[in-house]
């Protein structure tokens, strides 16, 4: 799929497939093309070339079927100030041709902790509450595919937990989930497979486990009682500031050697942390921002 906005190449040939029932992560820096990709799938934007299908339904030729199978939580915090939460959800149901949908609306509101605000006007809600309504709106028609575009941006911890519990439940019940996020730990925790985008291209597409595995290694963060590490320490020093060091190690064996080296040299360790590889690391290396 390709898409240009004037001189800007938002999607420079993206091709990928999300499996049914998957929890899929779409990661990348700002401007990588994540939202453009989602907009094309959702019909909010039209690709210059290429095609997108939702469970086999072409998003242009068979848009009715495609859109019924898709629930999108948009990134922008949008709402209609004329209506209450319940009215908003009833209208959204009607847009999908659903008439008597109150039982499901009540259930969604319950899970998203919106029941107390059901009759409050949208205008009166806090940002976090508005975000919950956006999620609820995307789910009124029980779509088999749910796309969450930065769902936890500006959302408090409590909602984040509740939201993930609910989304994971939907995933367990067979809904496919596509998530874009800036919070890499969220992708790491929830996604089974991840695509990383950069400048409108897929730079990595693999299971979360393989991605983390391909960038194996540990980071040892040390605070010691001297200004230099003893000679012959394994690993590569990536940062040093006074007695504080960050050392990249290949594996736990090197960690053991490093600690043995410190003990032999009589170095006193004031503080120590060991970080396993994380997506942040992978992300930064793949997008070329690593030190």
């Amino acid at each position: 799929m390709q898409k240009r906005y004037g001189a800007l190449r938002a999607l420079a040939g993206v091709s990928l497939e999300v499996e049914e029932g998957e929890f899929f992560g779409l990661l990348g820096p700002n401007g990588a093309g994540k939202t453009t990709l989602i907009n094309v799938i959702a019909g909010l934007a039209r690709a210059d070339s290429g095609e997108a299908r939702v469970l086999g339904a072409d998003v242009r030729a068979d848009y009715r079927r495609a859109r019924r199978m898709l629930g999108v939580v948009p990134q922008e915090l949008v709402f209609d100030p004329f209506f209450t939460v319940r009215e908003t959800l009833r209208l959204q149901s009607g847009y999908y041709g659903l008439r008597a949908n109150d039982a499901w609306i009540d259930e969604v509101m319950h899970h998203l902790d919106l029941t107390a605000k059901a009759d409050a006007n949208m205008r009166s809600l806090s940002g976090g509450m508005k975000r919950r309504v956006l999620v609820a709106q995307a789910l009124v028609h029980k779509p088999p595919v749910i796309v969450l575009d930065e769902p936890t941006a500006g959302v408090d911890v409590e909602l984040r937990q509740g939201l993930w519990q609910f989304v994971r439940r939907m995933n367990r019940e067979g809904h496919s989930i596509v998530l874009t996020t800036h919070y890499l730990e969220e992708a790491e925790t929830h996604c089974s497979r991840i695509a990383m985008l950069k400048e409108g291209r897929v730079v990595a597409l693999d299971t979360t486990r393989n991605l983390l595995g391909s960038f194996s290694g540990l980071e040892l963060r040390l605070h010691i009682d001297r200004a230099a590490l003893p000679a012959g320490m394994p690993g590569r020093v990536v940062a040093a500031d006074g007695g504080e060091f960050r050392v990249r190690l290949a594996n736990y064996l090197e960690l053991e050697e490093a600690l043995a080296g410190l003990r032999q040299a009589g170095v006193a360790i004031r503080e120590m942390e060991v970080h396993p590889p994380d997506l942040e690391e992978v992300f930064l290396r793949l997008t070329g921002r690593s030190s």
Binding site: Y5, N39, A42, G43, L44, A45, R46, Y63, R64, R65, R67, R68, L70, V72, P74, E76, V78, F79, D80, P81, F82, F83, E87, L91, Q92, S93, G94, Y95, Y96, G97, L98, R99, Q137
Partner: protein, 251 residues
């Protein structure tokens, strides 16, 4: 069907919830025209023999409010949705561009007719009005409201800001309605301006609507109806094409 009904219902709720502003305000404005122009020109102008000027004025004012409010409804609703971004809720759903068009036009027609009826009721309280052929009046009101509702959609689709819609309203819709013979019969105009008035589609709407009340008009009503119908067909086809293309809606 259900999708159309829901979107239509939402559009109707939108203006009924603020009816003080969407119905009350235009009725008051029109009442002021009636009082001021009626007072200033009563007895000085006799457009049709034996007809008081203020009686002549009322149907024109009713039609003017029908047209302006039908335009205001679709244009303000869509531009607000575009600017605040909540148009995505409709764009994400399986609502077709045809259903979208039909819902916005229906809401515009309802708003136009509601305001028109209120203005008519207030006007009828001041002057006694004959009702020669009510179905003719209704036909012109319906077609006029649909035409302006459609123009309102076009204005809102092509605009990015509220000012641009306001410019469309202030520099096209308002002059065209004022110059359509609401306040005068075009027969009182010099020949050049008479000819120019015939190029204004709103003239046929006002003239034909007035025929429904007085049984007299500047132009044969059946011909006016045909012109209005043809204009509606042309404008709504253009609007549907615009909506189908996704221009400034689906990027």
């Amino acid at each position: 069907m259900n999708r159309f009904v829901t979107l239509c219902h939402k559009e109707l709720l939108r203006f009924f919830k603020v009816s003080f502003q969407t119905v009350g305000a235009p009725v008051l404005t029109t009442l002021l025209y009636l009082v001021i122009f009626g007072h200033a020109l009563e007895g000085r102008l006799e457009v049709y023999p034996g007809l008081r000027y203020s009686a002549f004025l009322v149907p024109g004012l009713v039609m003017m409010s029908v047209l302006q409010n039908a335009f205001a409804n679709s244009s303000s609703s869509l531009i607000q949705s575009k600017i605040t971004g909540n148009i995505v809720f409709v764009l994400l759903s399986p609502i077709s561009y045809g259903e979208f068009f039909a819902a916005y036009i229906t809401a515009s027609v309802v708003r136009g007719l509601v305001v028109g009826l209120c203005v008519l009721a207030v006007g009828a309280a001041f002057v006694s009005l004959p009702l020669h052929a009510p179905l003719w009046a209704l036909a012109f009101a319906l077609l006029g409201a649909a035409l302006l509702g459609s123009l309102g959609l076009v204005a809102a689709v092509v605009s990015d800001k509220i000012d641009q819609v306001a410019a469309f309203q202030n520099f096209a819709i308002v002059p065209l309605t004022f110059l359509s013979g609401v306040f005068y019969s075009i027969h009182t105009l010099p020949p050049f301006w008479q000819r120019l008035s015939h190029a204004n589609p709103f003239f046929y709407l006002v003239d034909g609507f007035r025929y429904g009340f007085f049984g007299a008009s500047d132009f044969p009503p059946a011909a006016s109806l045909a012109i209005v119908f043809a204009s509606l067909l042309a404008v709504s086809s253009a609007t549907l094409l615009l909506l189908r293309s996704g221009y400034k809606l689906r990027y």
